[in-house]
Symmetry: C2
Subunit: 97 residues, 2 copies
């Protein structure tokens, strides 16, 4: 709960991660993955978009380090990398909803 003046690099990194969560679809994806691993197919259905669109958002979530991927044959399964990410979402919901 302290509030140090952060170095520039951390500012960039942290705002970057937050930005990755700041899109409605990505926010929803993280919410969904909070309930457990999901396949690409189920995610596409759940968030109601094209598989291309979902694929790109999920790639961004991987790049930002929020989501991990597991491949089984031709299918991919996604899951949250760090469960604390969910606590972050829960807190955002608690504060701003």
């Amino acid at each position: 709960m302290q509030n140090p003046i952060l170095p520039e690099r951390e500012i960039q990194q942290l705002s970057g991660v937050i930005k990755a969560m700041s899109h409605p679809l990505r926010y929803k994806i993280i919410c969904l993955l909070g309930r457990g691993e999901m396949s690409m197919q189920n995610l596409v259905k759940a968030i109601n978009t094209s598989h291309s669109n979902a694929s790109q958002h999920l790639a961004l979530l991987q790049d930002s380090g929020l989501v991990l991927v597991r491949r089984v044959a031709s299918r991919v399964y996604f899951r949250i990398r760090d469960q604390r990410t969910l606590r972050l979402l829960a807190m955002s919901h608690h504060v701003f909803a």
Copy 2:
């Protein structure tokens, strides 16, 4: 720590607030305001940008409800609206830094 499927409106709202925090300058502004109220002048110096640029980011932070403003004569002072916002930042730092 539950993870309900949120209604669309809340998804939009929450991702919107998070988006407001996702820019490096705005992230830094919130960090700075976490230490207490600051004048526009001091903010401009602290984040090292033009006053025009700072003004626009601060306007966005006001619109998103994260920051409150107080006017004294020709000067303006900004402060965090909800201290829990800082806890959110602190947690993001704790998780991702």
